[in-house]
Subunit: 294 residues, 2 copies
């Protein structure tokens, strides 16, 4: 039996717990302890069967844990690590689920001097615009990717443990460097969220905003769904992946300027080429995705 | 029996034809003629049962028509109207399905001196990222909105005819001014398409673009689906709704700058407030939408 402590039983932590429980067998089982500051949320998680035990005391929550999972937003990781520091044993494997990895590694370095060898930073590329344990699903990670970003000195056994847990949840585990992770996610996730938030914000400031939202078509709904995501989480992501995000925002701004100029001067060639190339890139990618051919 | 000539049997024109045919009764039926320059596309539309007759000759296509529907991209409307001019009778009702209305009215004014009283500009707020008659659906307009933008001097009987045809397709018909239409659509449709195209374009220019597309998650797929739309159509829309689109692009650019600055200086308040307000606006709108309460 593996004893897992999930610190922060929200959408991701709760779905991780549910996924492990779904796949548990008589010989391969888990005892899952949830930690949080609000007793009523832990009681709800217990009631839903997401966790086996709920603790509002961190020391009790991690005592005897084999694996400690940091399930809090990236902005809360540093403080949690500070509190964890005196409670960890050298045997415990630690991992996290944060959307930015550079900031998590930096926080660990600050707290521990160097990132502990058995702390394997991770990030499941899955989620919904919902949050909280009520939204947790036991198949959230099935056929989704989980990125692990081991660093120099990471313990290979700890890496294997974390990898196997995610694989047991149905995920495909890939490794990349911390820097690569933060750049790729800035482009594919953080930038689109900024655009969706800014679009909704822009529209709601327009005089005719009632009409605007009333006549918005399906494409708009899909496009802005991600603007329903947890504001606190995205606040944390912005501040914790600042450099990579600002870089992609700048690149986007340059391309948008170029397009605006083409519209302004009526440059048919630039418009047609931009739209055609984007369509080709999107279609190529969408085809890959649906055939699973990667 | 109403004789309808659809000039340009693509996704929208074809779906209009299919929708009317689906709802036809013994006493309320349609003869649908399709016009296009490529015989093989008309043959395909005939084969699919979308149209009853296919004509590559415009005079033959509109002879004896009760209603003429311009189903071409907005960039092709002016030329089509020039060719139509000598062929129209005062009894014929004309309408179009273009995504911009100011440019269509301007084209009609240029060709006819003033927009003919029986020409009722229209725009169904429906579509998919697909195009062409093969993608035409007989329920594309069910519970979707169709905006009609009659102008001063529009014939009320012609307006009623066009309205009833769309209602027969299952659509909810609303009226607004040409200017209001173009502003609302710039915000809710044209701007999001520009952002999606620009996002995909930006990402495909990045060095790590293979990784970027490989690790893109579900939110990104939804977000960029509209970048698969027909490049020629969007080229036309950009050039035919230039003023309103440039205005919304500028407003968006200002808001994006504001967000970038907040990230740069780490202004938690602005970030949290922006994301929270956007989420509230989006959720309010999404709830309205799903309950049909408007």
């Amino acid at each position: 039996m593996i004893r897992i402590s999930i610190l922060g039983v929200g959408l991701i932590g709760g779905s991780f717990a549910r996924s492990l429980k779904r796949t548990a067998t008589a010989t391969d089982s888990f005892e899952i302890t949830g930690y949080g500051r609000r007793r009523e949320l832990l009681d709800r998680a217990l009631e839903l069967g997401v966790i086996d035990r709920g603790e509002t005391d961190l020391a009790r929550a991690v005592a005897a844990a084999d694996v400690v999972v940091l399930g809090v937003p990236v902005g809360a990781v540093a403080e949690l690590l500070r509190q964890l520091r005196p409670l960890l044993t050298p045997e415990m494997v630690i991992t996290d689920v944060g959307s930015t990895k550079g900031s998590v590694v930096a926080a660990a370095e600050e707290v521990f001097g160097a990132i502990p060898p058995r702390f394997i930073p991770g990030h499941p590329i899955a989620g919904t615009e919902k949050s909280g344990v009520e939204a947790a699903l036991d198949d959230l990670f099935v056929q989704r990717r989980v990125i692990l970003t081991p660093v120099e000195g990471s313990d290979p056994h700890a890496l294997t443990t974390v990898r196997q847990l995610w694989q047991q949840c149905g995920a495909e585990v890939v490794e990349m460097s911390v820097r690569q992770h933060d750049e790729v996610l800035a482009a594919t996730s953080h930038l689109p969220h900024m655009l969706a938030y800014t679009l909704v914000d822009t529209l709601s400031r327009m005089e005719e905003h009632d009409d605007i939202f009333r006549f918005a078509a399906g494409g708009f709904r899909d496009f802005t769904r991600i603007a329903s995501s947890n504001p606190r989480m995205w606040h944390d992501i912005c501040l914790n992946n600042r450099a990579a995000l600002l870089k992609t925002l700048e690149q986007f701004g340059t391309e948008l300027e170029r397009l605006q100029e083409a519209i302004r001067v009526g440059d048919s060639d630039v418009l047609l080429r931009t739209f055609t190339e984007a369509k080709q890139a999107r279609d190529r990618y969408a085809t890959k995705e649906s055939s699973g051919d990667e």
